[in-house]
């Protein structure tokens, strides 16, 4: 009964999960292509972890269906009696998972932890030895095989958890905020390593995080979730450049939101005139048909140019004054006051402007994204 379309590894349809009466996941549908790394991104309580756990069979959905590699592992009892309820046990789903708490068994050695999934599958002793070594090598933990799990640091536990998850060569690996307990530097390193590992072993991965930077960096595609629903699905570039609504624009990356309305009849050639509430006229890209209820323009902080006063003259240009300059190292953040209130602007550290100086603010129409009223 399942439709296994073009290399789909995971298909989630109309997933619904409730805790008591409270809906945690409310009609979520998406597919993951074989070998893809898909990230579920959202604030805490948005249903991303619940969705992931439902794929692993650790959470009881109350509606919808989940198909893994063409096999239906969960389906709710359909309206017609012809489609009975299906719910394959976690251990029969053949997925693997890295837990947020790492879940390293404290009563076993590192080797035993990693060998667990292989032993369950009753592989010959020599094969287990070989596979554990391979997995530990991949995460650079061979030296620790004999250690008790209780003697490991957080970062080491994380590596063991990853080794254990990939040791039995699963087709699907689920990651539940695997890096959230690491410090910033280690997190950045592990991000690269996980991506490398996923490419090398080409497993399909679903990755849950609340860190938008991590999501954009690591994913093939990102799903932004909020309140148990999907807000937007797209490539990291898509999500960043063309947020579909106020929530996505605000949650992913630093965006300035400017209130106003589209001037009627001004749409032409994929752009339109947007009158801000403060009386500025901006040229913005329409990126398809207008709905008529667009009331906000989102403008990424990095896409705004600043120049010494008087040098403007482009399409969207205005005068502003630098209120504050915050040096971040990798970039400089300016708080600029202009006619439409305040703008957050990020510039490379090579462009230094003094606090209090007058500047010309400009940005391209294609970076002004119209958002519908929500």
């Amino acid at each position: 009964m399942s439709t296994s379309g073009g290399g789909m590894m995971i298909e989630v349809s109309d997933l619904e999960i409730r805790y008591g009466e409270v809906p945690a996941v409310n009609g979520v549908s998406f597919g993951v292509v074989r070998g893809e790394l898909l990230t579920l991104l959202g604030p805490s309580g948005c249903g991303k972890t619940t969705t992931l756990r439902a794929i692993a069979g650790l959470e009881q959905p109350c509606g919808g269906s989940i198909v893994l590699a063409g096999e239906t592992v969960y389906s709710s009892p359909g309206k017609n009696a012809a489609s009975p309820r299906r719910n394959v046990a976690t251990e029969k789903r053949g997925v693997s998972m890295v837990f947020q708490s790492y879940a390293i068994w404290p009563h076993m050695s590192v080797f035993e932890n990693v060998a667990y999934g292989l032993r369950v599958r009753k592989l010959p002793r020599a094969e287990i030895q070989r596979q554990v070594e391979r997995a530990l090598t991949l995460v650079q933990m061979t030296a620790y095989a004999g250690r008790s799990a209780a003697q490991l640091s957080g970062g080491q536990q994380q590596r063991v958890a990853v080794a254990r998850a990939i040791a039995f060569s699963p087709n699907v690996v689920l990651f539940d905020e695997p890096l959230s307990n690491l410090d910033a530097k280690l997190r950045a390193e592990m991000r690269v390593e996980l991506r490398e590992l996923q490419h090398r072993l080409s497993f399909t991965a679903v990755y849950v995080t609340h860190d938008q930077e991590e999501a954009l960096a690591i994913s093939d595609r990102v799903i932004v979730m909020n309140g148990g629903r999907i807000e937007q699905i797209g490539t990291p570039q898509d999500i960043y450049d063309r947020p579909r609504n106020r929530f996505v624009a605000d949650f992913v990356g630093a965006a300035n939101l400017i209130a106003g309305s589209v001037r009627p009849g001004s749409a032409s050639d994929g752009s339109a005139v947007f009158d801000t509430a403060t009386g500025l006229a901006l040229r913005v890209s329409t990126n398809g048909a207008l709905h008529g209820d667009e009331d906000t323009v989102a403008l990424r902080a990095s896409y705004i140019h600043l120049a010494a006063a008087g040098t403007g003259g482009a399409t969207n240009a205005a005068r502003g004054r630098i209120q504050r300059r915050l040096f971040h190292g990798d970039f400089i953040e300016y708080v600029v006051s202009w006619q439409a209130g305040q703008l957050i602007v990020r510039r490379p550290p090579t462009e230094i402007l003094a606090e209090g100086s007058e500047v010309a603010v400009s940005f391209a129409p294609e970076h002004c994204v119209l958002l519908q009223r929500t």
Partner: protein, 559 residues
Amino acid sequence: MKYLLTPFVLLICGSLVLYPVVFLVTESFNVGDPGQFPPVLLGLDNYTNLYDDARILGNTALVACLATIMAVLFGFTLAWILTRTAIPGRAVLERLLELPYYMTPLVGALAWGVLAGPKTGLINQLWRLTGGGDLVDIYTPYGIAWVMALFEGTVAFVMISAAMKSMDPALEESSRVLGAGKLHTALRITLPMVAPGIVSATIFVFAEMLGSFAAAFVLGVPGRFYVVTTAIWQATLSYPPEYGRAAAMGLSLFLVMLVMLGLSRLILRRGNYATITGKAFRPRALEVGRLRWLLLAICWAYVGLSVVLPLGALLLTSFQRFATVILAQSIFTLANYQTALQMGALGSALENSLVLGLVVATVAVPLVSILVWIVYRANAPGGRLLESLVMFPQAVPRLVFGLGLLWAWLYIPIPIYGTLWLLGIAYLTVFLPLGMRTMAGVVLQVDRGLEECARVCGASWLHQMRTVTLPLLRPGMVAAWLLIFIAGVRELGVSVFLMGPNAKVIAPSIVNSWLTSSSELSAAMALLQTVTVFIAVALLFAVVRSVARGIAVRAGEPL
């Protein structure tokens, strides 16, 4: 599976726990023939007659108040010294201070009876050498309260320590940084933060003291000084037995205690601000300079009064024909131990207690494991109901529950009344809360992810249980086993009603021997019981260092 298991377990536990209570309630309204069930004459006389016992209520209030004041005073002082000051040997002292609890108030009362009885008491004997009369008399309300405070007050120490330990030291440090002095910080920050814990502990201890039996029994009954618990016991022995009056007193006591325990919990929950985060802090110890030798002396004095002196007195007495501190007059003998260990009625009492402890612990641990799994892990429907049901015996004073069990099994057509079987079933019922608490503490510590990960790795439920869950729970199961064994060996409240002539157990036998024969023999028996318990306690501390810390004391396992 969990849908089938839960109703079944609910039924078993329900009948074990509720059946005796039904009898108790019914009997309390019985104003006709006390031996009749179901009763033919119902009325409130048993309750209205309680007013006639004003003297008993007064006695109870007096003893409970005195004992609570002393216990909280001791508990607060010790807790403050041990958690907040830098005195040498803190770890050892913390362990030693739990010992009085394991010694039981019964043994404590006997020992203090030997130490401070009029005329024959060892302290009074010594004092008379200096030419005085009797220095102390333990057979008074003050003596009873003293013993109760020493041997049942441990819970105050544990609760207040917990309140002090759970306070983030940053709260005090920020006060200091903002310019407040030590005293100002103590009054404005520390005290308000720990106050709910102390008030809650006080009420809790008071409720426990109201239901306390052993000390008032050993030290009050000889002088016809009765508190509610001993009056209940007395009522069942009179002829004709006043079961209705006993039940009415028992239920009233239960209700009063229930309200107080509820209040204690409410205060702790309401007033806990940020103190109880579940995280244990080790607050920065105050540097107390020279004063620390005084503080250290206070701690060791407490250990001396509650452990060393009583055990020393029992040891000395148990090896003598007649108890005396004047060594020149003493006649040393092993006869007391020979009598105690002989395979007569006394010897079998010790053996029976050991067998009961072993069997009940062995049966209870798997049962409790299943219960805990149903309640805390399986999310089965009815789990919460099951929890409150199983925890219910803890709220009932042990003696009152014993009273209910007495009738419940007297009227059942299975002929187990007066046998070890009945004692076993009764023990199992009243020890379930202790087992539940111990196991729940361990189960809740085990991150659910550890189990889930095994499933994701491809292990079946059974394989996961065998390779992950059970190995992780093993320390907790060992702890629960040992705690239940200890509780079994020292059980008094239930046994005092259910013991038969052919099914004696140790604690009530010690009391009988104390009331009817010699203190030397009782001392020997008390020491044998204490040694058994201490061996188990030593095992407990060795096997499960982190799990067992004060679990029994915190679980409020009464005797």
